[in-house]
């Protein structure tokens, strides 16, 4: 066969391009890290790196669910509001039952149920994801206010707090969770049938239906997972803070979406993955911490952040110029 002979180098080249494409942003991240390290001697320390990882764990986990949803060409605006409600539920159930595990389960379940609702609306009722999840976002924030009567809920249960404040060896527990979630979903996207279908649905939903794939079911699962992961983020957040506040999570959806797209996943579906998302999450986290460390005035922080993000995507574009 003529093809196999030609295949090897081409294959390698395309792998190389793909590497650059995904990891162009990684290079940029490293560049930003290098710059901050030069500007502040406190930046490149183990303590600070762990600090950054812990800080990004919450949005980082939400961004995994968001990646799945966006890969199917959908969007989930409700995740931020789920953080508010799930946190309140898990904190209050922990207080009520005295059992943190039941509390945590309740928080996760709350997230999953809201996600399932979104999924059903999007898949079975064929509603636009943007509007459905926007409506859910609005309604869920309202439900949180009603549920908490607008008041924060303090939790001091040590097991509960461990989720957010504990350590496994030198590694903060939220970071452990972050890593587990990324590894798990990296595997799911690459190695499972469900992951395969996520790409095919996002790449061409019609062709997927015609290939006999239960597209609705898989889309529904994706939204449910997104809700579930937002629930997990809620538990971590409330455990980190020893408290659930009703406004917690506001705006996290945008941070998560930004990280996903910075990481190279297309809003039109079918292209990308959680590896890129992690880089996007880290880039945003490093920016925030770095600017605090080198003491950029708060009024200028947004200017600098916006500018750096723009420069990052421009650089990325030039790195990838041929691959388009």
């Amino acid at each position: 066969m003529t093809t196999s002979a030609a295949a090897s180098p081409a294959n390698r080249a395309s792998k190389y391009l793909q590497f650059i494409q995904t990891y162009g942003m990684l290079l940029i991240l490293l560049l930003v890290v290098a710059i901050f390290s030069l500007l502040s001697s406190n930046f490149l320390t183990t303590g600070n790196l762990i600090n950054i990882l812990r800080q990004v764990s919450i949005v980082g986990i939400i961004a995994v669910g968001q990646t799945l949803v966006i890969l199917t060409a959908g969007i989930d605006l409700s995740v931020g509001s789920i953080v508010g409600l799930s946190g309140a539920v898990s904190a209050s159930v922990t207080l009520g039952t005295g059992n943190p595990l039941i509390g945590i389960a309740a928080g996760l379940l709350t997230g999953a149920v809201i996600g399932l609702f979104n999924g059903v609306m999007v898949s079975y009722f064929k509603l636009t994801p943007f509007i459905v999840t926007l409506a859910t976002m609005t309604a869920v924030s309202g439900i949180t206010l009603v549920y908490t009567n607008g008041n924060p809920i303090i939790v001091s249960d040590p097991v509960y707090k461990f989720i957010g404040q504990g350590y496994i060896g030198p590694i903060p527990f939220p970071v452990v969770l972050l890593v587990v979630v990324y590894v798990l979903f990296f595997f799911i996207l690459r190695k499972t049938v469900h992951g395969h279908y996520i790409y095919s649905i996002g790449g061409n939903e019609k062709a997927s239906v015609l290939a006999g794939i239960p597209v609705k079911k898989h889309k529904m699962i994706v939204y449910t997972v997104s809700g579930l992961l937002a629930g997990l983020a809620a538990v971590i957040l409330s455990a980190r803070l020893s408290a659930a506040t009703p406004v917690a999570g506001t705006g996290y959806e945008l941070d998560a979406i930004a990280a996903v797209i910075l990481g190279g996943t297309s809003l039109f579906g079918g292209k990308g993955g959680v590896g890129g998302t992690l880089i996007g999450v880290l880039l945003l986290g490093v920016l925030t911490t770095g600017m605090n460390l080198i003491n950029v005035s708060p009024f200028y922080q947004d200017v600098v952040k916006g500018a750096i993000v723009l420069v990052a995507v421009l650089l990325d574009r030039f790195i990838n110029a041929d691959t388009q």
Binding site: S40, N42, F43, T45, G47, N48, N51, R54, Q55, I58, G84, T144, L145, T148, G150, N151, P152, I153, I154, G164, Q165, L237, R240, L241, S242, A243, T245, P246, V247, A248, T250, G251, T288, T289, N292, L293, N295, S297, P298, F299, Q301
Partner: protein, 310 residues
């Protein structure tokens, strides 16, 4: 002109001991971190400006971080400041809950903590510069009730639902109203501490109620928005009361367009926070609780209030 010496003299019940003590040795080697709950309104912008001004005057290093009304960002900000190697942390909590781990993290790193504004239950802090939002809501409510002669129809504009400021001010206001059976609260609506929303919500309330005698707004921004709506609708004679004591509100009081505001002098607030932080850094003794000057400003004392707000 605003020398830091006058901080205590004309405000009610403050107890700073160390006037003049802030020039103590080693100021320039002290690093202060200030996590401020929001910069989304003029009140906190003044707090920040005055703190920065004071820090510059005394020549100390100050890093300000904006928590953006989010407790997680607040915690991250504290962590980042600890990484930066600050000596003293001034924390202006986003919420009365959720700040404990941040304070603990600072303590663990050997950073001394001062809180301002809201009290954080069970926290290990050197001192608290505080005010009481329930009390503020109450005082503003009383003023409004008295201005209406103890009877009338009023509406309440609340802040961002679910934030402790909004909750506590509303609670105080409602408690005050409980003392006035002849005052009817027609409606309580949220305008999210925002001037533009204050305008639209008030426009709607004016549509809904042909008779409104008074407006209680949980901050001045909403009060000023409501004022625009009322003036545009020519519904003269509605008594408006706000909270915060921003310059714009003072001017409106001067012009007789709003009746009063529950003022927490933001410039003194920032300035004093820095002074106390320095004392703490230098190992001086400070009181456990320092009440911040807050006073209800109306037509009567607005000139004085304005002169203090320079």
């Amino acid at each position: 002109n605003s020398s830091n010496q006058n901080a205590g003299s004309n405000s009610n019940g403050n107890g700073t001991e160390a006037e003049g003590g802030n020039q103590a040795a080693g100021t320039d080697s002290v690093k202060i971190g200030y996590v401020i709950n929001t910069l989304n309104n003029p009140f906190f912008v003044s707090v920040k400006d005055s703190a920065e001004k004071e820090a510059e005057e005394v020549g100390t290093k100050l890093s300000v971080v904006n928590a953006n009304n989010d407790i997680a960002t607040q915690l991250s900000g504290v962590e980042d400041l600890i990484q930066q190697g600050i000596d003293v942390l001034i924390l202006d909590p986003v919420d009365s809950a959720g700040a404990l781990p941040a304070i603990q993290a600072a303590n663990d790193a050997g950073v001394k903590v001062i809180t301002t504004g809201r009290m954080v239950e069970g926290a290990e802090i050197v001192t608290h510069l505080g005010y009481n939002e329930v009390k503020h809501g109450k005082e503003a409510g009383w003023f409004l009730a008295e201005a209406l002669g103890g009877s009338g129809k009023i509406v309440e504009l609340q802040g961002v639902m679910g934030t402790s400021t909004a909750q506590e001010r509303s609670q105080g206001f409602q408690e005050a109203m409980a003392d006035y059976p002849d005052i009817e609260i027609l409606s309580s609506q949220s305008a999210n501490f925002d001037r533009a929303e204050g305008l639209t919500v008030m426009e709607n309330l004016l549509q809904a109620h042909s008779e409104i005698d008074g407006v209680y707004a949980a901050n001045d921004e909403m009060a000023l928005g409501a004022l625009q709506a009322i003036e545009a609708a020519n519904r003269n004679g509605i008594v408006i009361v706000g909270n915060d004591g921003t310059i714009d509100a003072f001017h409106a009081i001067q012009e007789g367009r709003i009746a009063g505001t529950m003022a927490i002098y933001p410039n003194q607030y920032g300035e004093k926070a820095i002074q106390i932080a320095l004392q703490v850094a230098n190992g001086e003794n400070v009181k456990e609780l320092i009440e911040l000057p807050s006073i209800f400003v109306s037509e009567e004392n607005v000139e004085e209030a304005l002169s203090m707000q320079e």
